[in-house]
């Protein structure tokens, strides 16, 4: 890498400035990455840092931790609590079901074509969040949805027996529609990474299939599975559009609470709104951090 960069840099400079310069990193080289940093600085990092700064501003100006103390209020805690509950549930369920599906299509004895269909469909479904997904479930399990009507035909009134699409259970069902595919997409390559030799070695040593999974495959896969589940957690935790479309933004979720705070200071304290937003960023940052640590660990074996 190193020795060549000097010759490259000279030729770049001759096109940019015309003059030959010493083979250090010249200004011209930074031009290629400058737009990237300008854009992310202005439209990604800057706005977030501004929120971070203002989350420490008190109602009467001046810096304070008061906003963060107020996160303990019922409104905020209910929203965070529900967000975490839904994210955890859909991460664990989505993770388990997604893993089963990935396992089934990659080594469960189904024709190879099913694996291809599954991974393509997962790509679609993982990106099918938002309004259309919410609509699809309204037409399926809403008050007049097809499945609701079907149940009614068999004498079961879903909505009278306590089910609602606009509840924790309903939202969980909807979120799984993009959580399971995301799990499938990220865990399939990990399953592919299981080496044939490991299974053969285990079998030669007299291991049963269960023993192979218990002592070889699962320990190797665990960081991937856990890591992806944490990714799923973050994916659900930051989701706004689907829940907004489904509930009109009125459900108790952290993202929806921020949405209401944007439209009209529902918390009656702008600073608290910023603190709620920063709380989300911190939780997201943690989950992404743990995800990447686990991902790196799993690469030790699966590569």
């Amino acid at each position: 890498m190193k020795p060549n960069s000097s010759t490259n840099s000279q030729s770049v400079n001759s096109t940019v400035g015309g003059a030959k310069r010493p083979p250090r990193i010249p200004i011209g080289h930074w031009l290629g990455v400058l737009p990237f940093f300008v854009f992310s600085g202005l439209f990604l990092i800057g706005p977030t840092l501004n929120l971070a700064y203002r989350s420490f501003e008190g109602l009467d100006g001046g810096l304070t931790l008061n906003n963060y103390r107020q996160l303990a209020s019922d409104t905020v805690m209910n929203a965070y609590g529900m967000s975490i509950k839904i994210s955890l549930t859909t991460a664990i369920l989505g993770g388990l079901i997604g893993f089963l599906v990935a396992w089934v299509v990659s080594m469960g004895g189904l024709p190879p074509r099913f694996r291809l269909i599954t991974s393509t469909f997962s790509g679609v479904a993982a990106n099918f969040a938002g309004v259309p997904l919410a609509s699809a479930f309204v037409f399926t399990l809403g008050r007049v949805g097809l499945v609701t009507a079907l149940f009614k035909a068999f004498g079961i009134n879903l909505y009278k027996s306590g089910f609602s699409l606009y509840s924790f259970l309903g939202l969980t069902l909807v979120y799984l529609y993009f959580q399971i595919p995301l799990m499938v997409l990220t865990i399939l390559p990990a399953l592919d990474g299981l080496k044939r030799e490991w299974r053969e070695a285990a079998e030669n040593l007299g291991a049963t299939q269960i023993q192979y999974w218990r002592y070889v495959a699962l320990p190797v896969l665990t960081p991937s599975i856990l890591g992806t589940m944490i990714l799923l957690f973050g994916n659900a935790f930051g989701a706004h559009a689907t829940a907004y479309a489904l509930t009109g933004g009125l459900f108790d979720l952290a993202t929806l609470l921020i949405g209401r705070q944007i439209s009209g200071d529902v918390l009656h304290n702008p600073g608290l709104g910023y603190a709620v937003a920063m709380g989300m960023v911190i939780i997201m940052a943690f989950s992404i951090l743990i995800y990447s640590v686990l991902q790196r660990r799993s690469e030790r074996w699966l590569k």
Partner: protein
């Protein structure tokens, strides 16, 4: 078809055959969960006219005076986003691979940020920073629209960077660059006539993924009061009965098309690479 190492392992793992019934069962149940909502939505979308199944809901949707403007606006936004994102990400990924490897961790960190900052938090920050006097970028509808596109560009970084980076790893950038340079090519020529064409597949997947994400984006467009497809769809679900089902099917078809092309083109590329390796 049997190109990936996975399909090789499938044929080897014979003992699993007795589990096949369980496999089919799992696959079947999960498939039902994924297909029923689509089927139900499609069924509803055919019921636009009383007592007859037909495409009335689709006709009404396309005839809605707000639909086409919202749709075309979203398409223009998506295309502008892709164009800008390519212009920014390709040089960045190229430089980071070839000339400034030390910057790689920083760039990778920044491309992770859209996952760390939820869209609703980002738009919150954008509005609070750019709708007050010192930096009043959101004064008019059109200036807001430009900000929206710029935000989309940032959101596309993770997908675009990863695609382009993978693409660059697959080709020998250094040799290509040096060959072009020794033939007297200048910067623009190297980028546009050597690097870009070799990255076609990578660029296309990044672009289509970005398209799929931007085209129906709701959260940011909603709070920036943009009349794009996302907010339009959201209004539609509240004001109409059958059209939302037609809309959902159209949206699904768009996503499917984008992902299908990525898969198709990607598989072609893998085959090509393997043929080259076989030589």
């Amino acid at each position: 078809m049997t190109t990936s190492p996975a399909s090789a392992t499938v044929t080897v793992k014979r003992p699993v055959v007795r589990n096949r019934l369980v496999s089919w069962l799992i696959f079947g149940v999960v498939s039902l969960y994924f297909l029923i909502p689509l089927a139900a939505t499609f069924y509803w979308s055919l019921r636009g006219m009383k007592d007859v199944l037909g495409f009335e809901a689709y006709r009404k949707l396309f005839a809605d005076t707000n639909f086409l403007p919202a749709f075309s606006q979203s398409i223009v936004n998506a295309v502008a986003t892709i164009f800008l994102s390519l212009l920014i990400v390709v040089p960045t990924a190229y430089w980071v691979t070839l000339r400034l490897p030390k910057l790689r961790p920083v760039v990778e960190f920044i491309t992770l940020l859209p996952f760390v900052i939820p869209a609703v938090v980002l738009v919150f920050g954008i509005i609070r920073l750019y709708s007050a006097p010192p930096l009043l970028f959101t004064a008019t509808y059109n200036s807001s629209r430009i900000v929206l596109i710029f935000v989309y560009v940032c959101l596309s970084f993770p997908y675009m960077f990863r695609s382009v980076d993978n693409g660059l790893r697959a080709i020998d950038v250094r040799t290509l660059t040096e060959a072009a340079q020794s033939l007297g090519a200048n910067w623009g020529t190297i980028l546009f006539r050597v690097i870009f064409p070799n990255l076609r597949v990578a660029l296309l997947s990044g672009a289509l993924l970005t398209f799929a994400i931007v085209i129906g984006e709701l959260t940011i467009a909603l709070y920036m009061a943009q009349h794009t497809l996302g907010p339009y769809m959201s209004d539609l679900t509240r004001s109409k009965v059958y059209e939302p089902s037609a809309m959902a099917i159209v949206a699904f078809a768009i996503t499917w098309a984008a992902m299908g092309i990525i898969d198709f083109v990607g598989r072609g590329a893998t085959r090509h690479v393997q043929m080259v390796e076989a030589d």
